[in-house]
């Protein structure tokens, strides 16, 4: 007999109904039974909530859900290693469940696709987070999904690609020049980061978190540190918050400038690539002058930040902001007014707003397809509550819209950096962490979208840490966006998404 469970209006109502697990901050965690887990799956499928994460833990799985008001972690105990697949009703969970299966050995019952995902049969160990059984590494073949029809042909690409980019495999099925199916195979750069994190001390944790996806090293270190601080119930000092945001905005600027140039380069418009490359380099040099590292790596730690910025550093940042403000308008104008470039980007690689919403696509991918979500607003972490910034949203969903969102965000970040430089409070840079225990969740807006970090810490060590890159919910959408486009436009589409391989593969 199945219990009928009423639909919940909001996550807050759900949290009240279930009772929260103590010691989980700042959003509630609840333990649900199998029936309620299925109910949550249906409400996810109906689009009532967004799935922001799904990960394994000892004897249980956790799902992070979001509605308009906030976040919630729902936990299902699965002592027998089986749980009802959410992907059976809500496809965005698919790769996450395949990963849980590979890493923990839990069986998502009803999982529509049971091929391994991160496990390429090369590790010499099965279910590294679970039983960790030693097995011979045979590199078994991976069956790609079939695509049948007259005059279809396949183009395998990767894992080693032509450019200086990360490895992954793309299997195109094309009819003449038109792509009828793209299937991605990822996992090539899986480094086992979450296993290395288990048992690590907090400083090593920050170091590893900052190396999940190098282009987002600030965002990851920030997400990890905020999650640890939430778990231990400490707050970094105000000056640390502001300097963290300064780094986050510089990281966003550098990456957006690089991406805008790279998309134009893939459309064979090299002059914008060169000019954006110069501006990007200047940002990295200013970051180096201010924070002692071009990518600002290992500067954010649980409790605060390492090292202050001197007057020379601030002057370097102010100078680069001036320069970009002076020179960027001419570049965006050139982008707008070059018909041959627009011809390539406008109408190419369209991601439907409905899909973006269903997959809770973060960052410019979501915002170029009508999803007005920005973790700086949603999670409202300091100092953004005290800063004015727009969250630009477009509806077209094409390569052009993803470029334009980045351009608008360059402007927004310039203004944010200015506000921070003007109002940066004096004071301490870090607080000593107590040796407590607890669980913490953080959601931070990296340049690519929302990075989620979840930790359980006890006596200065990490028991379990999960880091979810925004790419998890963007990669599958690239498969949809390329549909019906020509093969030659794939590099352009891919660059406009710029998903992280390393952040996804972990």
């Amino acid at each position: 007999m199945t219990r009928t469970i009423p639909a919940f209006e909001s996550l807050a109502e759900l949290a009240d109904a279930c009772g929260q697990v103590p010691g989980h901050e700042p959003w509630p965690r609840i333990v649900v039974d199998a029936a309620l887990w299925r109910r949550l799956g249906r409400q996810l499928a109906q689009g009532q909530w967004a799935l922001l994460g799904l990960w394994g833990d000892t004897g249980r799985v956790h799902a992070a859900l979001a509605d308009a008001e906030g976040l919630l972690v729902a936990t299902l105990e699965c002592p027998d290693g089986r749980f009802d697949s959410l992907a059976a009703v809500h496809p965005p969970a698919l790769r996450l469940e395949r990963a849980i299966r590979d890493l923990w050995g839990y069986e998502p019952v009803g999982l529509p696709d049971t091929r391994p995902w991160l496990d390429h049969d090369r590790w010499g160990v099965l279910q590294p987070h679970g039983a960790a059984t030693e097995v011979p590494a045979t590199g078994a073949d991976y069956p790609f999904l079939p695509a049948e029809g007259e005059s279809l042909h396949q183009i395998p690409v990767g894992p080693v690609h032509a450019g200086i980019i990360e490895p992954g495999h793309f299997r195109f099925t094309a009819n003449g020049e038109t792509v009828v199916r793209l299937e991605e195979r990822l996992g090539y750069v899986h480094k086992g980061i979450e296993k290395l994190l288990a048992g690590a001390d907090l400083m090593r944790g920050a170091e590893l978190a900052g190396r999940c996806s190098g282009d987002s090293t600030v965002a990851y270190a920030l997400a990890f540190s905020r999650a640890v601080e939430a778990a231990l119930g400490v707050e970094a000092p105000p000056r640390a918050h502001w300097l963290r945001a300064l780094m986050a905005e510089l990281e966003r600027l550098a990456n957006h400038l690089g991406d805008i140039g790279a998309v134009c380069n893939d459309a064979a418009f090299a002059i914008l690539h060169a000019h954006c490359g110069v501006l990007r380099e200047r940002v990295l040099r200013a970051a180096d002058a201010a924070f002692g590292h071009r990518l600002m790596r290992d500067r954010i730690v649980p409790g605060g930040i390492v090292g202050d910025v001197d007057s020379k550093g601030f002057a370097a940042i102010a100078a680069v902001i001036d320069e970009i403000e002076r020179r960027f308008p001419a570049l965006s104008e050139l982008y707008e007014n070059t018909a041959s470039l627009q011809d390539r980007t406008a109408g190419t690689g369209i991601l439907e707003p409905g899909l973006a919403a269903r997959y809770a696509a973060g960052g410019f991918v979501g915002r170029a397809s009508g999803r007005a979500f920005d973790a700086r607003r949603f999670a409202a972490y300091p100092p953004y509550t005290r800063l004015a910034f727009p969250v630009p949203v477009l509806k077209a969903g094409d390569v052009d819209a993803r470029v334009r969102i980045r351009m608008l965000e360059v402007d927004a970040s310039l203004s944010l950096v200015r506000q921070i430089l003007e109002r940066l409070p004096p004071g301490e840079l870090w607080v000593t962490l107590p040796a407590g225990a607890g669980e913490g969740l953080a959601l931070v807006e990296g340049f690519r979208g929302d990075v989620l970090a979840w930790v359980r810490v006890a006596s200065g060590r990490i028991e379990r840490c999960h880091l979810r890159d925004p790419s998890w919910f963007q990669w599958p959408l690239l498969e949809a966006a390329i549909d019906g486009n020509i093969v030659a436009d794939f590099p352009l589409c891919n660059k406009s998404f710029n998903c992280s391989y390393s952040g996804h593969d972990l």
Binding site: V160, G163, I164, Y188, K191, L208, T217, A330, S500
Partner: protein
């Protein structure tokens, strides 16, 4: 666009003077390069980048070598799309087990004489990922390495100094 081009003409290039070739790298390389190779290659090297599991930051700095400040091509060094066109493999990352075979095959596809440059701390010994079930832990465990450029990631200037040392020796 004409304005932009005109401005660029007036302002002159942002391209900077090269760093001196890294002396440590020169010493490491002196043993690796033989005379015959020098005669064959002249002063130009084609580089093929292979990401063997990097966090992608090493790639960002390799990319930077192509920006107008560093302008790698003026030294006769350029990145090529296929290992079959390459003299040098630049390898990043701790070599994940999932990438090991791809690296081996890329190496096999590169014609002789060839050099391997391991870029970044990960490529040297696995870096922060050493000891994981999923990584081999260093490029030299899979293919012979002629030069290590340390850093996390190495800056473009460090990369350039290392590559120029390679060019000096391979001349």
């Amino acid at each position: 666009m004409r304005r932009l081009l005109f401005d660029s003409l007036l302002k002159g290039p942002v391209t900077e003077a090269p760093p001196a070739p890294d002396p440590d790298a020169l010493a490491e390389l002196a043993q690796a390069v033989n005379r015959r190779a020098r005669e064959r290659l002249g002063r130009s090297l084609s580089i093929r980048a292979v990401d063997a599991g990097s966090c992608n930051a090493c790639e960002l700095e390799l990319h930077a070598l192509n920006n107008p400040f560093y302008d790698l091509e003026r030294y006769g060094l350029h990145f090529v799309a296929s290992p079959r066109h390459a003299d040098v493999l630049v390898v990043t990352g701790p070599v994940t087990k999932n990438m090991r075979e791809a690296l081996e095959r890329t190496y096999a596809a590169t014609p002789d004489p060839k050099w391997v440059v391991a870029v970044g701390n990960c490529a040297a010994n696995g870096g922060v990922f050493a000891g994981s079930y999923a990584v081999v832990g260093g490029v030299s465990k899979v293919v012979p390495v002629d030069l290590h450029i340390p850093g996390c990631p190495p800056s473009p200037r460090q990369l350039l100094a290392g590559l120029l040392a390679l060019l000096e020796t391979a001349r």
